[in-house]
């Protein structure tokens, strides 16, 4: 890791259906930190995350990744970003390995697929089509996707949905590892996280 990555938001605003969800939002996250976005349903958490991934344009303000605006970086920004949204983005009819292979083909590979699966406890499911996996297993597969590609910025939208306690712990420990290696994680969660308080920065959105 050369320099510590830095992600900045300047005066972000999001307007949806003539309603201002948030405006004038500023934050800075450095490598080694987790940014936890909190707020009740409908307060714009998912919209904010989609703006941070660049899938949605902010109505005002700009995002800066390591000194360059995301608009200027365009596709280069995505060398560093991994996103886990509400949908897992996996093909039901492809096997676990085929899905991960496809993900790796579009990014820079980190762990091997077998190793990634072992780390999330899905070893032995290599050839199972996704449609036969439970919701929790699919979520763990999304985690394996993060581990199998080399990305510095993880953006996670409710990553713990449908995971059991042990899996949440496991997920959190990998988030800690990622952050300890100099990465950044930005996430929303309704659960209380067990992440150590000194690495967590919180933002609260109010409707």
């Amino acid at each position: 890791m050369t320099t510590r990555p830095l992600f900045e938001a300047r005066q972000l605003a999001c307007i949806r259906d003539d309603r201002v969800l948030f405006s004038g939002l500023d934050f800075q996250v450095q490598g080694g930190q987790v940014l936890l976005i909190e707020g009740p349903n409908g307060s714009g958490k998912t919209s904010l995350l989609r703006i941070l991934t660049g899938l949605r344009n902010p109505d005002e303000g700009e995002l800066v990744w390591c000194g360059t605006t995301v608009v200027e970086l365009a596709a280069l920004f995505y060398q560093d970003v991994a996103y886990v949204g509400h949908m897992n983005g996996m093909k039901d009819d492809l096997s676990v390995t085929e899905n991960l292979k496809f993900t790796q083909a579009l990014a820079i590979a980190a762990l091997s697929i077998d190793e990634g699966l072992r780390k999330v406890g899905l070893d032995g499911y290599q050839d199972t089509p996704i449609r036969y996996l439970s919701a929790g297993q699919r979520r763990r597969l999304a985690l394996a996707r993060l581990l199998c590609t080399q990305k510095r910025l993880w953006i996670l939208d409710e990553p713990f949905t449908s995971l059991d306690k042990a899996s949440i712990k496991m997920f959190e420990s990998y988030i800690e590892d990622h952050v300890a290696a100099g990465g950044i994680t930005i996430m929303t969660s309704h659960h209380d996280t067990g992440l150590p308080a000194h690495i967590v920065q919180k933002i609260e959105l109010r409707p």
Binding site: R50, A75, V81, D93, L94, K101, A105, L106, I108
Partner: protein, 227 residues
């Protein structure tokens, strides 16, 4: 930092779509069955006048191919949009236009190619002369990829709508007309024993323009549909 290979990304998108299609073989038959049905129903409807059938056959085959292509277009981005894999495809360091081109190529291999391959059989059914069949074959080869590429723009625009079917047809059909005119013009000229190179050059030009220009608006439309 090393960038992942673009060619590799292109090929893996094509391969993924071909594997997915293979696992849904039944759906592959739809456009082909539609094409064969429309073409075979025509002689039954207009009567067994060989001269008449021979004259209208190229037009019938082309219109049926065009509609079959339109019918299959809607599925191009639908499932990727619904399960979120389109979002992940947008979020790669690769230019989205190249990945779009890969998806359209796979789609054409699966929907356009079978139509072209079965055309000589249908043309023989209409008793078209063999050199005219050759020209018909070439126009389909040059024309159907253009249909897929242009259609992709409209599909990308309508993929976020729940009922985009009719809108898709309205958006796309006017853009399909030039292809249809030049293709049937070429086949007519061939049947009359006239040179066809003008029309074929024109269609080749359309094909190369479509390959180089349509992926950008398609990619832009996909980004709009996702935001």
């Amino acid at each position: 930092m090393t960038t992942p290979s673009l060619l590799n990304a292109f090929l893996s998108v094509v391969r993924r779509d071909l594997i997915l299609a293979y696992r849904h073989r039944a759906e592959l038959i739809n456009p082909l069955a539609f094409f064969v049905m429309v073409v075979t129903l025509f002689p039954l409807a207009v009567g067994a006048d060989v001269e008449l059938l021979r004259r209208i056959a190229p037009g019938v085959i082309w219109v049926a191919a065009l509609l079959a292509s339109l019918l299959s277009m809607d599925a191009l981005f639908r499932s990727d949009f619904e399960d979120g894999s389109l979002e992940l495809m947008v979020m790669t360091p690769h230019p989205l236009s190249v990945l779009v081109l890969a998806k359209v190529s796979a789609h054409w291999l699966l929907s356009g190619m079978p139509l072209i391959l079965i055309t000589p059989l249908l043309a023989a059914m209409f008793d078209i002369e063999s050199d005219v069949i050759g020209i018909l074959f070439i126009t389909l080869f040059l024309g159907t990829p253009v249909l897929s590429l242009i259609g992709a723009i409209a599909v990308a625009l309508t993929v976020g709508l729940r009922k985009g079917g009719v809108l898709l047809a309205i958006l796309v059909l006017p853009l399909y007309v030039p292809v249809l005119i030049f293709a049937s013009g070429a086949v007519d000229a061939a049947a009359a024993g006239l040179p066809v190179s003008g029309q074929l050059y024109m269609m080749s030009a359309m094909l190369f323009l479509a390959i180089t220009l349509t992926p950008w608006p398609t990619a832009a439309a996909l980004r709009m549909s996702l935001s």
